[in-house]
């Protein structure tokens, strides 16, 4: 093999570390998707576009002279209201409907967001430079930008914070109750409409955090949303709904896979390999499930 990664094995360490840090970020987005999938039974194709929108908020803070790291506080605050507004406008009409309706409706939102962002922010690839510097490891052969480490730490903090919030707070308990049985929760006095709005808002806020981190560590572009949706969907189906450690692990696994695919197949096949992996996982899942004995209910 004449591939660079096999000639210089230290690159494998580089790819693994990059992948794990990236994967933690993916896991955060996937966590938001798992949350609203579990509670509202909706697959949000616009998830990735919410991420990108969060990224643009951070980018504009950076342009106006504020340090982009503060974006992780401002972006979720704004995105929460974007999420609630989106729920009130569109999503509440598709909650109880056929799943395909919600997929198509959010697909429409995704196209709309893409184009509006393209108008508002231009079609250039941008990034918010945090100027955090880099860390050198292993005798300077592995380079880690500090911004990636920062992104991973912030993601972990937000994820843990949300888990605690879901366990302890009143709204968190209401959300979990609605996820288990919406009808029973309604009977017991939970305002499910409010819970749904809050869930979608929290999901959007998580996307906002992730977007801010994406803007700091990588680049953003109006049309880059869909891969983030697919990644988070993939992570959720590998881990299974409601399996948070699984989300974290499969997120990191996906990150590492992507970095290796980048080195081995070449950058032009990176996104393609992610989508192919999705197809392969779903096919694997189908053949695994078809071995199970089934019966009619």
């Amino acid at each position: 093999m004449d591939l660079l990664i096999f000639q210089v094995p230290i690159l494998m360490v580089q790819a693994s570390l990059d992948g794990i840090l990236l994967g933690i970020l993916f896991a955060l987005i996937a966590y938001g998707m798992a949350l609203q999938w579990g509670v509202m039974n909706i697959i949000n194709i616009a998830q990735g576009d919410l991420v990108i929108l969060g990224g643009y908020i951070t980018y504009f803070m950076y342009l106006s002279g504020i340090h982009p790291a503060l974006g992780v506080i401002v972006a979720p605050a704004i995105m929460y209201f974007v999420g609630v507004g989106l729920y009130k406008l569109v999503i509440n009409k598709v909650v109880d409907r056929d799943l395909f309706i919600s997929i198509l409706a959010t697909f429409g939102i995704s196209i709309l967001f893409m184009q509006l962002m393209n108008f508002a922010f231009g079609a250039d690839v941008v990034l918010a430079n945090s100027e955090f510097g880099t860390t050198m490891l292993f005798n300077n052969s592995v380079t880690l930008p500090n911004s990636k480490i920062f992104a991973a730490i912030i993601s972990i903090i937000f994820a843990i914070g949300l888990v605690i919030y879901m366990r302890k707070s009143k709204l968190g308990r209401a959300i979990r109750a609605t996820a288990q049985n919406a009808r029973a929760a309604k009977i017991l006095g939970v305002d499910t409409e409010k819970v749904y709005a809050a869930t979608f808002g929290i999901n959007a806020a998580l996307c906002g955090v992730a977007g801010a981190l994406v803007a700091i560590t990588f680049t953003i572009h109006p049309y880059m949303g869909l891969p983030y949706t697919i990644r988070s969907f993939m992570i959720v189906i590998i881990a299974g709904l409601g399996n948070l450690p699984g989300v974290a692990v499969s997120g990191m696994g996906l990150g590492v896979f992507e970095e290796f695919a980048d080195y081995i197949l070449g950058t032009e096949f990176r996104i393609g390999s992610v989508f192919m992996l999705l197809v392969l996982i779903l096919v694997y899942r189908r053949f695994k499930l078809s071995k199970k004995r089934e019966y009619l209910k």
């Binding site: 709309l112 893409m114 189906i237 996104i271 393609g272 192919m276 197809v279």
Partner: protein
């Protein structure tokens, strides 16, 4: 009733044949309309009749497009040099080469996607509901990304299809592609209509309504799902091959595997017209095409905003489509026997 239908079909056929001479300025638009109707009709076999909402039929469309062009070029000239020269006229097809290449290209463009549909159909048609929808979405995007990285078919810079040879007058190119796409449309319509009058359609509907029960009744659902998808792929491939020649330039993500335009259009057209009906996709595609052309011309730049809003509005407020709405309004016309008291009760319920 039968007489009425024959008159209707004859009128459409005659209009189809004379249209390019009556409306010469709209030849290209009419050809695109034919292609769109074909795509909507074939999507309807999955999404409407079978209940498998796919975003992946664009895969066969794009595949057909690339295959047709590759065969047309590769039969006579080295393909790699053709794509490398990026459409510069280093090689020129003679008229007979062009038409011969197009004919073989269309055959390949129809057959290979059918085989591909059979193979991947076996793997992914076992998925249900949203897993299937997302999986096919992934397939479409993956095909676009991957074909954008393959050098021999032009990679990122695109693939120029052979230019139309200089035969006949200036109108010849438009007329050729119009009649080709109209022929495919007629073939597709006949195929779909004859399918819909057989037991096969009932099986597809049984799969849509309750797949587990259909299986319990002894129907080999997988077999019929795969056959249904292969029929779609056959006509999608043909449509793609013609569209490639019509556009004259193939780009991996903007023309061939264009999930953001064509891939959504076919779903939207079928839903707009009314999925699960024969005429729904035809009507939906026609209205959609008129709307789209108007919007694309007068509000250039805002077309995707309009498209996004349109998708949301149609899906939320109008999921039954035009045919569904008509059916609710005039059930007698659709051969349904309606009890007057029953209808009044329903109106009161609303």
């Amino acid at each position: 009733m039968i007489n009425k239908n024959i008159i209707l079909y004859a009128a459409i056929l005659i209009f189809g044949v004379i249209a390019p001479f009556v409306l010469p300025a709209f030849k290209v638009q009419l050809s695109i309309l034919c292609i769109l109707i074909v795509l909507a009709l074939t999507w309807n076999i999955q999404g409407g009749e079978m209940g498998y909402n796919t975003f992946g039929n664009i895969l066969f469309y794009g595949l057909g497009m690339y295959l047709c062009a590759s065969v047309q070029v590769g039969m006579f000239f080295p393909l790699a040099e053709w794509t490398e020269s990026g459409g510069e006229k280093t090689f020129v097809h003679t008229p007979s080469q062009f038409f011969q290449g197009m004919a073989y290209g269309l055959v390949v463009a129809a057959i290979v996607p059918t085989i591909v549909a059979g193979l991947i159909g076996y793997a992914i048609l076992g998925l249900r509901g949203h897993y299937f929808a997302i999986c096919t979405l992934g397939l479409g995007v993956a095909a676009g990304e991957i074909s954008g990285g393959i050098e021999i078919i032009g990679a990122g810079q695109g693939f120029t299809t052979p230019p139309f040879p200089e035969v006949g007058d200036l109108e010849a190119r438009g007329e050729f592609f119009y009649f080709l796409s109209f022929l495919v449309l007629v073939l597709t319509f006949i195929a779909v209509k004859s399918i819909y009058s057989t037991r096969f359609k009932l099986i597809l509907n049984a799969i849509r309504d309750n797949e587990d029960k259909a299986e319990a009744m002894g129907i080999q659902t997988m077999k019929y799902k795969i056959i249904g998808w292969m029929i779609s792929a056959f006509f999608c491939g043909l449509a793609g091959g013609i569209m490639g020649g019509l556009v004259g330039y193939i780009d991996s993500t903007d023309v061939a595997f264009d999930g953001r335009e064509m891939g959504v259009f076919m779903v939207l057209m079928a839903i707009l017209g009314g999925k699960g009906t024969l005429w729904g996709p035809v009507i939906g595609a026609t209205i959609f095409h008129i709307f789209k052309e108007g919007f694309w011309t007068f509000f250039l730049g805002w077309q995707y905003v309009a498209l996004g809003v349109l998708i949301v509005v149609i899906v939320i407020y109008f999921p039954e489509g035009i045919m569904g709405w008509l059916r609710e309004k005039y059930p007698e016309r659709f051969g349904e026997v309606v009890d007057e008291a029953d209808r009044k009760a329903q109106v009161e319920l609303k």
